[in-house]
Symmetry: D2
């Protein structure tokens, strides 16, 4: 028996080069072999704090857009997890890198961050739950793929890698399960909301969101130069 | 060659009794045979003024939600037509019935009006262009059907019917063309936005919107008692 | 020292009769003295289930609209509490009244319910966090006032009142604290979002929302006849 | 008698350097003295086409968010003017520069464009009419100031300047009146929607929007290198 490819897989297949450029970006490779500059990583961490806020809001939007209680519950659980647990984890992790909560609160949103978060929120507002989930996936599932790749990668520096904890987090079981759940949710939504018919329009937005993830890494890389 | 039924026709077929109850409502019959009380009609006219405002806003929402310039243009043309031409026509017509613009401006929105307009706007916000067009159709196309029915009806009072101008307006070529254009637009959107897959959910909203139109007539009828 | 009246108090003062008609509605009085018909109460319970879904969505909308992490957290906590805890509590309570989860899932939304929930959601979409909180308050704080009134009321039937558990819930410390928190939140938002300048427009929406609560009780009462 | 400064003026005063960097950007100066490369200008023209689409949508959003008929009419008139007149003018103008309509339709939205348009739309969705107007102003009024500056500027090349028509358009009476109307509209909205109390939050968004305009010029400039 051959499994039908997931909707996520089909979206990814429409822009393999963009997806590769995102998940194997020099920033990511630098995390893996430990050569990424601290300046790049800290810049990224600060922007990621702001990203988390808007990402929480995007999931809140999903709860608002939901027609089924299960969808509301799923989205609400994610908002709570992000706005409470994840954000506190992030704040703690930033402290290890010498970034205080005050610094985080006063960080100015970079254009690449702004472009990505607002694109996601705007697409989510304009469309339905499926449109929203499609533009959320590059982040959710991309980080899971990156985590796996780095954890298994030949070129990954396993000893004394300053980014080990970051790699552990995204390659860990908990995050991998989040990635899998998001893929499954998309399949469910694609079935209910006419994903096949709307495939081209959705794939176009998926590719833009993925490109905006590349720009996000690039922003971090550029900050270290 | 047999024409494929329009998407609108298919939606209507899912709730024939509700559709019939709306388009052949006693209020409508009363317009046709001229027996509707003036109190009912004037109450209706005042509420319809508020309805037009929210209906304009719903079409503005369609322009915001559009991904193609043609869709923006179509929606923008409708907003302009409604907010300028139609609304002024309505104000003039109300004057003939002794309802001044001040009275219109101070009319309190009735619950039946509120329920209908906010349902349409809320569905439009939550979903995509197709969701929005589906809940707009009962009003746009329903009035065209009502106009035709009254113009051709055996029981229609053609001489000295105080509602003759109303009937003429909705049975006239101009409004009939608007109704036809809306049906065509829905077919276009249904094709682009996966209407077949989403049919059941769309049909459920279509029926609610139609029921809310019934309640709107009922509100007018009740005001005359 | 004289306390400055809360923003909520000031809103309430603009429509004392409407507020009184809502919080002392015959439906409420019937809960207090135990004379409300079972049919009315069960109808109300079923509609309240649907109401809870949309109410959760309205709080999710607040999280989406938030500009501060605390606001996101507050709103997300409410969505989770509603969509998980409250909804399960409600389902359990309905079972006691012989209403199964299947019946709840198949309940058709009544016009009075639709008018209220969609008005709240639409106002919330159109305006900012303050606009949204204003139309949420009649429900949140009104139920707290009703709970207190019934718990303390002279005419309240304390023995063998079938509605005792309902009264206990809304007069209980936990719910009263929710009401107080909502009043405080509104004061905070009114200060940040220019509540004084916008008072008249906000008060108009507050009154409409309160009127729609009256219609909600009336719907329940009517169902028992 | 001393005029009270406009709300727009007060916003501008909070970020004079950003405003100056936008309205006197090297791209703008290059238009004035005719030294801007054709490649830069053509890149800008293509992106501006996409910008116009989203800008139309932002004004449609304003019509949706309006509570007064005049506000709906104002916004609808702008959408129609943009989606019909302005867009056709733009298409014609692009032809003069050798950019066909097909090229325009296939232009990929640049990140700087995406960041700006989606920020405006997102702020507009999250907030009320005042929030939306504040982030629309840097574009509308900034172009009017740029037009005036170039028309009057000492360093402006008046003979054989390939960008003369562009300068004439934005310095012309018609566009200057649009700029003035937008400033007046903002004063009106600021009064009705509590602009004074909300000043700091609005000014922060105004500055971001202005910065995103700088990035837009920078994008054009970068394309010519």
């Amino acid at each position: 028996m051959i499994d039908r490819p997931t909707f996520f897989h089909r979206l990814k297949e429409t822009c393999p080069d963009t997806w590769e450029a995102y998940t194997h970006h020099p920033f990511v490779a630098g995390l893996g072999n430990g050569t990424l500059s601290k300046a790049s990583f800290c810049y990224y961490l600060k922007q990621d704090y702001i990203f988390l806020i808007h990402f929480s809001r995007a999931h809140a939007l999903a709860a608002f857009k939901a027609d089924r209680i299960e969808d509301i519950r799923d989205a609400a659980a994610t908002v709570s997890a992000l706005a409470n647990y994840e954000m506190k984890l992030h704040i703690d992790y930033c402290k290890e890198w010498g970034i205080t909560e005050t610094v985080l609160a006063n960080t100015k949103e970079a254009p690449a961050n702004l472009a990505y978060t607002r694109f996601v929120l705007e697409r989510g507002m304009v469309g339905d739950l499926l449109d929203l989930q499609v533009v959320l996936l590059p982040c959710i599932v991309g980080y899971a793929e990156i985590g796996s790749w780095l954890a298994e990668g030949l070129s990954t520096q396993r000893l004394n890698n300053p980014y080990k904890r970051w790699i552990d987090m995204y390659s860990g079981e908990e995050y991998q399960a989040i990635g899998q759940a998001a893929i499954k949710k998309l399949d469910d939504l694609a079935m209910r909301y006419g994903g096949d018919t709307r495939f081209d329009a959705l794939a176009a937005n998926f590719q833009i969101a993925t490109q905006l993830e590349i720009n996000f890494w690039q922003m971090g890389l550029g900050a270290g130069k």
